[in-house]
Symmetry: C2
Subunit: 150 residues, 2 copies
Amino acid sequence: MKFAATLALAAAMFALATPASAQFAKPEDAVKYRQSALFVMAQHFGRIGAMANGRAPYDAKAAVDNAEVVAEMAKLPWAGFTANTDGLSQKAKADIWKEQAKFKEHNEKLVGDTGRLLAAAKTNNLDNLKTAFSQTAATCKACHDNFRNQ
Amino acid sequence: MKFAATLALAAAMFALATPASAQFAKPEDAVKYRQSALFVMAQHFGRIGAMANGRAPYDAKAAVDNAEVVAEMAKLPWAGFTANTDGLSQKAKADIWKEQAKFKEHNEKLVGDTGRLLAAAKTNNLDNLKTAFSQTAATCKACHDNFRNQ
């Protein structure tokens, strides 16, 4: 029993001690991963934006389909901002690694906002979609303003 | 009534007539989209492979988390293989557009396999994960052999 508990504790500590960078074969993969996830998210988010801004006809099902992808993708990119990628991308400001708590706060805000965007899409009401889209877009912008070189 | 029916028919025909390429601002975006989705999927699939092949310790929760992303990502890339991207990427064979039914069959097989991979991960049984991983990897390879330049 004690041995098992010790093993479990060791495993938990290993998990905590394993840096996120261990998930990627090389730092360049982490950069490519986060850029890929953000690009896929942006494509689907843009399609919702086109409906919200009247550039495309409102299609309730397409809005939900796109919002589902956006909400899933919003969870992914952050794992790619590993410490060993500082300086590898021109776009990522060093502040990401200097102000990690603030960066994480932005990441989590986006996850929350995109969850609400999906809920709004599911109401099949364009006004709800517009409101949630604006809120999410503002969150994207706030993070870009703080942490991305223009 | 007749007018409404005509309108509905016109809308349906418009939906059918709108090419998938209309979802992307330019053909290069479609290429980048599919490559991004495949890269994100491959990263998560590789982590399951590491467990299946004994290169990483088996972690049942991580297997499920990764399989969830794989199953979601497996649905996405195909929309990026729009006809107007034929010739834009060195890796994509022209056969993709010449044998569309066969290509689609491969795509759908992957969606099915990754769904089963997720179900296998959820059994929390490494042997089930190994079997489903091998099956999915074989499906990746079959499509690459047919449609991707090496």
